[in-house]
Each structure stands twice: as structure tokens, then as C-alpha cells.
Amino acid sequence: MKRKGTLRQILLITDGCSNQGEDPVAMAALAREQGITVNVIGVLHEDTPEYQARGLREVEEIASMGGGISQIVYTRQLSQTVQMVTKKAMTQTIQGIVNSELQQILGNDYRVDDLPPEKRGEVIEVVDDLGETMDLEVIILIDASGSMENKLATVQESLIDLSISLNSRIGDNQFSMYAFPGKKKDVELLMDWNGRLDSLTTIFSKLSSGGITPTGPAIKEAIQAFTIRRSKRSLIRDDASSDEFLEESGM
């Protein structure tokens, strides 16, 4: 149970409906098949929350298909939400792993809830422990469509905050970031794999917002980026075994 592994997450920050390319809900399902969790944060406009809440139904669908967590917030709550969603999703994934291991030991239909309270404590300690020590790879996808323009400063702040939270863990973190639409392409790489997020200011100033919202293609791009990274890494050192451990758990 002490085997360490890598958790893979996509964190999508968007304020609206996709309108270009593949269906993002289908792409989220594809990500999940590959052991990648998709979390979505829907950003509400302070002035038109009612109208927008309806449009953000897609947010919930993507996260639910992607095995992750969704959260709809006003801009000012973004910081605390981004780190909370990321951490919650990690715990949820790990709990899924631990639950399925328990089932293997104790038989199907057996869950942590069925253990007497005295025994549960030990299981939760294992979950806590893994959450603290496992490595984490996050690809952040930022909706840069026109309506997000005046929110990008807050998005940037919340990502720096996320980096403070995650870098306080014992495990290693790697982040990568894309914007959709980009300047030249539908999906553009803003930051390649990096352990920190505090050099974001320069990156964000380069963002220009466009009219389309290609959410599906962005998720697809992120899945590919994970695949490439994984194959590169297994060339360098053979950590296929620990990866396998997590892939089976993506559910």
C-alpha cells in the first residue's frame, strides 16, 4: 500500500459553453479511461449569474464524466476553490484506489463505510498519507474566450495560490498550462512542465482572448500531453509498474 505513484489531473477553468471541435464531455470520458481525472471550475459573472448558471451545466457534465469534481464560483472565491477542488479530487481518486484494494481483499460490495468505525481510522490514515506523498501532475486549461478577459488576473492569482498549497506537500508536483483559444492555434501551450506556478505574470500578459471556445480540443490536447510525458518518462526510468497501479484506479 505504501507504493508511491503519480496522480494525473486536468484542471479546466472556464466561464461558458464550448462551441468548437469535439464534445468536451466525450473527451473527459476519454481522459478518465486513461486514468486522468478532469476537474472543472466554472466562473460566474457577478452581474449575470442567473443566465450563466444555466449555461454552465456543461461544467458538471464534464467533471462527472471525467471522474472529477466541479465547482461553480464567483471570481472572488476562485483562489480557495481552485486549491480545494484539486486537493479534494486527489483524495477522491486515492479513496477510489483504496476502496478497490479493499474489495480485492474483502470481496466485492465491500466499502470503507462497512468497516466498524475503529478500523476506518487506519484506512483514512493510508488515504491521507498517499495524498501527501504521491506525485502530482496537473495540466491547467484556461478558457481565454472574450468573456474571460477581465477575469484572467484573478485566475492567475488563484493558480499561484494553488502552487503554494501543493508545494507545501511532501510529494512532487509538475504543472503545465494551455490556453484555448490561443493566438495562433485553437489550443496553445502557455507553460511546459514546471514545478512551480509563480512565474505566471509574464505568461498571462501574452494571452489574447478570442471569440471561440474549443473546450473539447483543449482536453484532447491535454490527454496527448500526458501520454507523451508518460512515454518519455518510462524511457528514462521504468516506472511502469507504479503507473499501472494508478491506471487501474482511475475509476
Binding site: 469534481i69 465547482q71 461553480i72 464560483v73 472565491q77 483562489s79 480557495q80 476553490t81 480545494m84 483524495t91 479513496q95 470503507v112 463505510d113 466498524p116 468505525p117 475503529e118 476506518r120 481510522g121 484506512v123 483514512i124 490514515e125 488515504v127 491521507d128 501527501e132 495560490d161 503554494i164 498549497s165 501543493l166 508545494n167 507545501s168 506537500r169 511532501i170
Partner: protein, 325 residues
């Protein structure tokens, strides 16, 4: 935290009516709910009566994970030497309600007042005394290998008299060296750009200082462009914190590596600080000199009464401080 709060408020176990009887699935203990004390992200707390009619607090949650890790913490607390840190744990069980299973635990009911409302109308000595008591507990907690994490007025209750501050809601308590489990922005060093979210004594001491600032500024304040300067200015401008200025600044900027050191400085300040007559008083005095002798006499009597009162207060203060040791 919004999402979960909104979710939980709709949970059937968040809105149970007084009189509801809860019987544990494993241990079969009965609890009769009297009223809801409050609810948060992980569950609702009800003032209840156990089978013998004793008052207890029962926390019912939805999510096994967070309830169980709170129970884990409360169990460790009971193993720490000395007074109990936090409410003592009485029972842990599950409850079947409307075909679903909900985890719950019963704990000691701490009858008291929230620190901020306790502080209303109190003089600055009380800031120091409550903090000395809090730091005593934090020191023991840190020595046992934990940081409290989500330290804020909502999680502190003043019981008594004799008044004693107590920690409640242990959801944020984290093993030292790990990342803080739960925090609240205003009290979080990471939010103010003054350090990481790694659990260590300095993290809690920062929050303790922010609690002092919250006593001085009950409405709190928003973060500005230069948080470091902003916090220092807030400390310096507060009359309530005047005598603690240096200590608060040191705590905010990570200069204390143990709760004990900060506590000792506070005790020292509390026992040696000489209050200078505020400027306004001095003016009033010099004016009264020009007035009649009779007035002078009156002032003198008043002064002596005040002196006696503050002497008695100091004696009482030492009594309270000694309560914490």
C-alpha cells in the same frame, strides 16, 4: 468551501428536528438531539442528551473520510499529556436514517462563548490572557507533532468562569511537515504571501496573531497590494494591540519558532507593561490643575481607586494565567 457547504445544508442530517433520537449501529448508544449548534463543510453539530441525560455535542456528517479523520485527531488529542486539547471524544458510530448510513461522533459539550463576542467591551489585558492560554495549548499540540491548521475565532470557545479558551473543530489539524488540511484565508499565512502551507509551529503562530488582529478589527479587512506592510500598519494603528505590537509583528513574520517563546513574551508584557496615560488624559489633567483644588482632590481619589482596581485586576490576571499551566 461553498460547494460542500451548499450541498451539506440540503442533507437530511443537517436539518434534524429537536427530539430526534439517534441510535448507533455498532455501539447502540442513544442520543436525543436538543438543538443544532451549527454546521459547516463536513457536518452538523447538535447539542444532545445521552442516555443518562448528560449534555453532549454530536457531530453528524455525510462524508466518512472527513468525519473519520476528525475522530483520528480527537483520539490523538486524548493521548496528549495534561488537560484535554479540544473536546474529549465520547463515542464514534454510524446512524441509519432514511435508508442511508451517516457517520457521527459524540464529544464533550463545551458551553461557552465565541472569542470575538467574549472580547466585546473587554480591555486589552484580555487579548493577552486569552492568547497566553491558547499558546499553552498550541505548545503541547506542537510538541505532540501536530499543527492545529484552521485556527480562527470560530474554532475557539471561551468556557467558564474561570475563563479558559478551548479549541473546537479539529478538521484542520495536520501532522507537522505535511500540508495544512483546512484553512481560512484571513488566518492563512499563504494567502497573505508570508509563507507556505506546510504544517509547522510558525503556521499556527501566524494565525494566532491574525486572531489578535481580528479582535482589534472585528470586521476584518481585505488584502491589498503589499500585504506585509498592510499587516504591520494594521498592528501599529490598533490601540488594543499597542502593548503587544512587537510580539504580534514577530509572530506574523515567523520570528517565533515555538509557541512557548511567544507565550513567554506575552506573559512578560502582561506583567510589566506600564500604561502611559493617553494624550487625551494628560491634557485633561493639566487642565484640571488650573482648576480648583477640590477638583484636584477628586482626581486623586479617582486615581487611587483606579490603581487599586488595576492591582486587583493584575492579581486576577495571574490567577487566570496560572490556570493554563
Amino acid at each position: 468551501m461553498m460547494h460542500h457547504q451548499m450541498n451539506f445544508s440540503k442533507s437530511p442530517v443537517c436539518n434534524l428536528t429537536p427530539g430526534t433520537v439517534i441510535v448507533g449501529k455498532w455501539h447502540k448508544n442513544r442520543y436525543t438531539l436538543m438543538r443544532r449548534l451549527g454546521f459547516g463543510a463536513t457536518g452538523a453539530v447538535y447539542l444532545s442528551k445521552d442516555a443518562n441525560g448528560n449534555k453532549v455535542a454530536v457531530k453528524i456528517g455525510q462524508d466518512n473520510m472527513s468525519i473519520t479523520s476528525e475522530v483520528n485527531v480527537l483520539k490523538t488529542f486524548s493521548r496528549v499529556q495534561g488537560n484535554v486539547l479540544g473536546p474529549s471524544l465520547i463515542d464514534v458510530d454510524d446512524w441509519y436514517y432514511e435508508k442511508k448510513q451517516y457517520p457521527f461522533y459524540a464529544m464533550e459539550y463545551l458551553e461557552g462563548e465565541n472569542v470575538l463576542s467574549f472580547m466585546k467591551g473587554k480591555r486589552e489585558e484580555w487579548v493577552g490572557i486569552l492568547l497566553v492560554q491558547l499558546l499553552t495549548d498550541l505548545e503541547r499540540l506542537h510538541k505532540a507533532g501536530w499543527a492545529f491548521g484552521d485556527l480562527k475565532p470560530d474554532n475557539l470557545i471561551v468556557v467558564g468562569p474561570p475563563y479558559r479558551i478551548r479549541l473546537i473543530d479539529v478538521g484542520g489539524t495536520t501532522l507537522i511537515g505535511r500540508s495544512i488540511k483546512e484553512y481560512t484565508e484571513f488566518f492563512d499565512r499563504g494567502y497573505w504571501g508570508l509563507g507556505s502551507r506546510r504544517a509547522e509551529p510558525e503556521y499556527d503562530l501566524f494565525a494566532a496573531c491574525m486572531i489578535m488582529l481580528n479582535m482589534a478589527y472585528p470586521a476584518r479587512f481585505e488584502k491589498k497590494a503589499q500585504p506585509e506592510k498592510q499587516l504591520a500598519a494594521a498592528v501599529n494603528k490598533s490601540p488594543l494591540l499597542k502593548r503587544y505590537r512587537k510580539i504580534v509583528i514577530n509572530g506574523l513574520f515567523g520570528k517565533y519558532n515555538s509557541a512557548e517563546k511567544m507565550r513567554n513574551d506575552l506573559v512578560h508584557t502582561l506583567s510589566t507593561y506600564k500604561k502611559q496615560a493617553p494624550v487625551a488624559d494628560q491634557e485633561a489633567m493639566s487642565r484640571s490643575v488650573r482648576r480648583s483644588n477640590q477638583k484636584k482632590k477628586k482626581t486623586k481619589i479617582l486615581f487611587e481607586t483606579l490603581l487599586l482596581a488595576s492591582f486587583l485586576f493584575i492579581v486576577y490576571m495571574f490567577y487566570l494565567v496560572s490556570q493554563t499551566m
